[in-house]
Amino acid sequence: MKRITFLLIAFLAIAGSAFAQSDTSATTAAKGTFPSGTSFNGLPISALQIATGVIVAADGSGAEGKLTIALTATTLLGGQQIINIEADISGGQRAATNVAIVSGTGTVDMGDGTPPLPGVPIIATITTDSNHLGTVGLAIGATTLPSATIGDGSMTVTDLQ
């Protein structure tokens, strides 16, 4: 009987939590820096700018939104090169109260005159702190970058309620 009661409580708790969840909003308008030694497609990158507007469905079934990123790179000749990434977000999850992981496909424009590359898988892990800053982790195609530390601007992961 005890086992049945435990199971009953567990099922009710799970069902209740599923209904209680809200959609998640992940918004950013911020800039940050990468650890020394970070590179992308053979170029050293030092900084990131990010803007995000994503809604993640409460049940984890999907997400929709936009993600815009600019990476500041240094060319082989020492000049500055901006790598622009624009992604349509179609998947996501709320990994923790302050963490949203969003994914989709995007276009990567290396900013060096070569044609932009469409259809690149993009995953962004947005982790916020109490000052609306935090970190952004990026996986662009087969490249996973170390997390960028957000130094200014604002980021929020919150319930849409």
Binding site: M1, L8, T27, T28, A29, A58, D59, G65, M155
Partner: protein, 205 residues
């Protein structure tokens, strides 16, 4: 009630719970027909911030069947959030939407030589401004961390890609503060195309 009946009841509840949690979610996933997700940056054309690069991120949805969520006592409230960051002045604010009104852009001038009604200070459609007949939304919100700070803008989804096709109009944000809590006066911008990013407005079933 016998032990066997209780066991059957628990199993029935378990199966129902599984259907709810792991079943087909399409009807549950996005419960609002009217939604906006926008992110990117534009160059301000405001009087005190002309040329400043503004980064923004907005989410919003309105459960009203007409796409009008005026909030307060006037009607349903939207659900949404915003971020605003002027990288020149340093003003950064975020907050919660309390009004969202979805619409389709209009113009009385079929020649395209006059700016659309919702973004009167932008270029006309004939000169690269936002077109008539595309989705737009007017959003308004209250900043989370700075008393008296409000946020409002019109977002216009002019097509793909977002660069210079999607527009941000009638922007008023502030008064706000920088990361170091230095006060910044209210910033405005009248009507600019996105330099980077995209505005996605859903106003159809």
């Amino acid at each position: 009630m016998g032990r066997k009946k209780i066991q059957l009841g628990v199993w029935a509840l378990a199966i129902l719970t599984s259907f709810v949690i792991f079943g087909d979610h399409t009807a549950y996933a996005f419960d609002s027909k009217f939604r906006v997700e926008a992110a990117g940056w534009f160059l301000s054309d405001g009087p005190t911030t002309n040329g400043n690069e503004i980064k923004f991120g907005v989410t919003g949805k309105c459960a009203n069947s007409t796409g009008v969520c005026p909030g307060g006592t006037s009607g349903p409230s939207p659900k949404g959030h915003f971020e605003y960051f002027d990288i020149v002045s340093g003003m950064r604010v975020d907050g919660t939407l309390n009004q969202a009104v979805f619409y389709t852009t209009t113009s009385a001038d079929l020649t395209g030589m006059t700016a659309i009604d919702q973004c009167p200070n932008a270029p006309s459609p004939a000169f690269g401004g936002p077109p008539a007949g595309v989705p737009g939304v007017q959003v308004h919100g209250i900043c989370d961390d700075y008393s008296g700070c409000t946020f409002s803008m019109d977002l216009i989804d002019g097509g793909e890609p977002g660069k210079l096709k999607d527009f941000v109009c009638n922007v008023s944000v502030g008064p706000g503060q920088t990361k170091n809590h230095t006060p910044v006066l209210t910033e405005q911008s009248f009507g600019q195309g996105l330099q980077r990013g995209n505005i996605k407005i859903n106003n159809k079933d």
